[in-house]
């Protein structure tokens, strides 16, 4: 009898243990809805193997188990609300920063030795925010009905062609089963994985929702009235489709996979609510996010500053700047917030434009001694103290970032610019005073930086002139190859996988770092257009192509080091500082805020933040 009782007791204990191990916890807000029968219980809403918070490296955050509740008030700058919100707190990646891929939106992957066949495993039981399952059907739809549909995709994007060559064959997508699909290329294309992991999952839309705008699933008779309502011509369903689901369109309750779902927008205020089907849990099995609601306010700089100081916001996404650092600090206690300096990818740089329409300038800037001289003429420490407090030296491009005006003068004299005019400015090879036009990008702290550069170059005898024009005009001048030197921000040193086009001088993706339009088009067209580039440039582009095909970390590191060496030797771009800081402002009541690392990342990590009660 006693033995039986013991066995029974043990059995009960085991059962309790097992069931509590399997039990997930959810927010009280959702628990009431489950009790009312509006939502299925949490075990059914989460995938069989839920994800974890992995986007922030452990050394950058002290992760705690949080508490449910609260409304996060986020402050946005004056621009498009969508840019700043879709990304910061609602974007989810396959990619787990900083060194691994996998265990994100997709559970995992497999790649063959050749880097040409990628098999992706999805999470069984994962659902969109309206409860509909997230399966390989969503990917099949994207591939067959969107990418391969000529009306929706006029030109097949090169990112999905083998090794990103424009004339290569496009990828093929095959569904293996409900939660597995495979992408195949006809040659090695290692960088596809990393690229797709970081940027590629954006075009994926909930197939079940989007099908209502696709004639393959909804008859045209039903679409015609919608097309007309949207103001397009009869039959132009693809315009309606793009308009309805393109980035930036405000669609409340659009099914998403992000932690918060868009609910409402009134004037400058946008409201979000937690996604009841969010697929991540914390280490104790609590479904994320902890925070129930999010409210973002779009505002102007002055009003924004006032709100921060008055303690009316909990998270400042991107609209804080180092200019106001002293003010932020002064009112930290009164406003109830913390100011932290984080790393940013907005690294200040000067870009030398090589293939311009001015032959005199091309001759001058083509000489490496000129570019080195400009680098030596910059008193970077002064720029750091005025504009980028907390930044560090030396830079990695050039590695010799010392301030040496004597050397600068020497190099300029050596290369033949030793004759001066009546005012003491150097004459160019054509005998006229060399005037260098600085055209800064009008954003961030570029203009103060450029103003200082504008004052430093004349000290080695180079006459400069700075013009500030609107962003669109800058871009059209880049296209017209009229710019000479362009101060800007954004040339961050790439981390693994080193697949960045920031330094290539001219590809169609990032016009903001174009500097060698003719060389680049020569290289890309195989010699048909443009101008033959220097050997170093060709070598660099070759190395970059080689980076595309492999995933081997050692090989990638080696190739990148070589590219870095070329960049350091040629100095087509020079950096002004490194590790420029950017303030992150969070409420004192907020927990699980990263204390170091990149501020953009910290902004996007609201899924694990919580309010201490």
């Amino acid at each position: 009898m006693q033995k039986l009782t013991v066995v029974l007791l043990m059995g009960v204990v085991c059962l309790i243990g097992v069931s509590s191990a399997l039990a997930y916890n959810e927010s009280p807000m959702l628990r009431t809805r489950v009790a009312a029968g509006e939502l299925p219980p949490v075990e059914e809403r989460l995938p069989k193997e839920p994800g974890r918070v992995k986007d922030i490296a452990p050394e950058n955050i002290d992760l705690e188990i949080g508490q449910y509740g609260g409304t996060l008030r986020v402050l946005l700058g004056g621009e498009s609300w969508w840019i700043q919100v879709e990304n910061p707190v609602t974007h989810t990646d396959l990619y787990c920063w900083p060194t691994e891929i996998g265990d994100g939106m997709l559970k995992g992957y497999e790649v063959n030795d050749d880097y040409s066949v990628f098999t992706f495993y999805m999470r069984e039981g994962m659902r969109w925010s309206d409860g509909y399952p997230f399966t390989s059907e969503d990917f099949r739809f994207w591939y067959e009905d969107v990418l391969l549909n000529e009306k929706l995709t006029a030109v097949f994007p090169t990112v999905y062609k083998t090794a990103r060559k424009p004339d290569a064959s496009p990828m093929e997508l095959k569904v293996i089963d409900e939660y597995t699909f495979q992408i195949t290329f006809d040659g090695p294309f290692g960088s596809f994985l990393t690229r797709w992991a970081t940027y590629g999952l954006q075009p994926i839309r909930p197939a079940h929702y989007v099908k209502q705008f696709h004639p393959g699933y909804t008859p045209m008779e039903e679409l015609e009235p919608l097309i007309e309502e949207a103001g397009f011509e009869k039959g132009e369903w693809w315009r309606l489709y793009q308009k309805k689901i393109s980035i930036g369109t405000f669609i409340p309750d659009l099914p998403v996979l992000s932690p918060f779902v868009l609910k409402r927008r009134i004037n400058q205020v946008t409201e979000y609510e937690r996604n009841p089907y969010y697929w991540k849990v914390d280490a104790a099995g609590n479904q994320l996010p902890y925070i129930d609601r999010m409210v973002t306010t779009q505002t102007t700089p002055e009003a924004g500053l006032m709100r921060i100081l008055a303690g009316e916001v909990d998270l400042v996404a991107d609209s804080a700047s180092t200019d106001n650092l002293a003010v932020y600090k002064e009112y930290e206690e009164r406003g109830g917030y913390n100011v932290q300096l984080m790393n940013t990818h907005y690294i200040p740089a000067l870009i030398f434009h090589l293939n311009t329409v001015d032959p005199v300038w091309n001759e001058v800037v083509g000489d490496i001694r000129f570019r080195k001289a400009v680098s030596y003429a910059l008193n970077r420490q002064e720029i750091i103290e005025s504009v980028y407090p907390g930044a560090s030296l030396p830079t990695w491009m050039p590695t010799d970032s010392s301030y040496n005006p004597d050397k600068a003068n020497q190099l300029l004299d050596e290369m033949g610019l030793d004759k001066r005019d009546a005012d003491g400015y150097r004459l160019g090879p054509d005998g006229k005073t060399l005037v260098i036009e600085l055209l800064p990008h009008p954003w961030g702290s570029v203009i103060p930086q450029a103003t200082l550069v504008n004052a430093m170059l004349p000290e080695v005898g180079l006459k400069t002139r700075m013009t500030v024009i609107a962003l669109e005009l800058v871009n059209s001048m880049i296209n017209a190859r009229e710019i000479k030197i362009r101060p800007m921000e954004g040339a961050h040193e790439p981390r693994w996988p080193f697949d960045t086009e920031d330094f290539l001088g001219g590809t169609k993706f990032m016009p903001r770092v174009w500097y060698a339009a003719l060389w680049s088009s020569y290289y890309e067209s195989g010699g048909e257009t443009g101008e033959k580039p220097s050997e170093a440039y060709t070598k660099m582009r070759d190395l970059y192509e080689e980076l595309q095909v492999t995933l081997d970390k050692k090989v990638l590191q080696e190739k990148w080091e070589e590219i870095k060496r070329i960049l350091d030797e040629e100095l087509w771009m020079i950096l002004i500082a490194d590790n420029t800081p950017h303030p992150l402002i969070t409420s004192k009541k907020l927990g699980n805020v990263p204390h170091s690392g990149y501020h953009l990342q910290a902004q996007r990590s609201a899924e694990q933040m919580f309010f201490r009660q």
Partner: protein, 334 residues
């Protein structure tokens, strides 16, 4: 008089058409277009836009069509449906909706500021003129000039700072954070009034200085005239005299510009609204222009031009009605 009005209205229609073309052209003038600057801003934020997305954006905004076709489509929608198009910047929301949700508040703020201006400047102006060179006259003049000299936005910043430091109250926006998205209630109304005084006074003060000086000057001119002395000699009381004759004449310049109040009512005061972050149409227009948001900017420019023209017409009619001299001199009844 009637023929005068009818003639003016007939000219209005072709004028408005020309205005619509000009508005549209103005928006198209800067190089590039909405998608280009949109994509560049996305890239700056570290968000990579794929080629597919860029091409899709072009298609969805109809930017792949030639400019005149875009104009015709826009005009057709306005004339046939009263639909001013979709805003590119604000997530494809209808322009009508965007302007509509801000219009009421804009008009309320503008009206309150205008009432403030009149309520303050007219009495002060009259007092200044009748008690010329008295201490109060100098005091009002002094304050008036300071108000005139200080830019609106600077004044707004000072007021914002002051109330925050000494009263621990931030006057930013029209509502405190808990009321912004909440439905209308008594509490929300009270909250609005707590914030409303700031824009009213800030926008008002710039106007008062000018109006005081104008009124004072005109009135002084009138008070020196013969008929005033005659009236006094005849025993008319000072107050009755003042309001029956000189003030009526001095009001003239105010009335002739009153028509421009109409567009100002709609657009509101932009700089102050930006500093104080008011949900009015002024900042909406500014953002639309900066971002080349074609339909929103074009529509607003056109609406404002239309109201300016209509306002001027109303002003002229009002002036003719109020001032008989114009009736007899300028507008002959044929």
């Amino acid at each position: 008089m009637l023929s005068f009005i009818i003639r003016r209205i007939m000219i209005l229609i072709p004028l408005l058409l020309v205005l619509s073309v000009i508005s549209f052209v103005i928006i198209q003038l800067p190089p590039g277009n909405f998608v280009d600057s949109y994509v560049h801003r996305l890239q700056y934020r570290g968000y990579v836009v794929s080629e597919e997305e860029i091409a899709a954006l072009y298609i969805s905004y109809g930017l792949d069509k030639p400019v005149y076709v875009q104009y015709l489509i826009w005009m057709r929608k306005i004339l046939l449906h009263g639909d001013f198009g979709l805003s590119l910047e604000y997530g494809n929301r209808p322009v009508n909706e965007l302007i509509g949700e801000r219009l009421t508040l804009t008009i309320v703020i503008s009206l309150l500021s205008t009432i403030f201006v009149f309520a303050v400047s007219i009495p002060i102006g009259i007092y200044s003129a009748t008690h010329q060179y008295s201490p109060f006259d100098y005091a009002f003049t002094f304050v008036g000039f300071i108000g005139l000299a200080t830019p609106n936005f600077l004044f707004a910043l000072i007021v914002m700072w002051f109330t925050f430091i000494y009263f621990d109250f931030s006057v930013v926006g029209l509502f405190s954070s808990q009321f912004v998205a909440a439905p209308w209630s008594l509490a929300k109304l009270l909250d609005m009034f707590k914030h409303m005084w700031a824009p009213m006074i800030i926008i008002g003060t710039a106007g008062t200085a000018g109006l005081i000086r104008v009124l004072r000057g005109c009135l002084l001119d009138e008070l020196k005239k013969q008929y005033v002395i005659t009236a006094r000699a005849k025993g008319v009381s000072e107050a009755k005299l003042l309001f029956r004759y000189p003030v009526r004449v001095a009001i003239n310049p105010i009335i002739s510009t009153i028509g421009w109040m109409l567009p100002a009512l709609i657009s509101g005061e932009v700089l102050t609204a930006i500093v104080l972050d008011l949900p009015t149409t002024g900042p909406l227009l500014l953002q639309a222009l900066l971002n080349q948001d074609m339909f929103l900017a074009g529509s607003m420019v056109m609406i404002l031009s239309a109201f300016t023209v209509i306002g001027t017409l109303l002003s002229d009619i009002l002036l003719v009605w109020v001032d008989p001299r114009i009736r007899y001199e300028g507008v002959s009844e044929k």
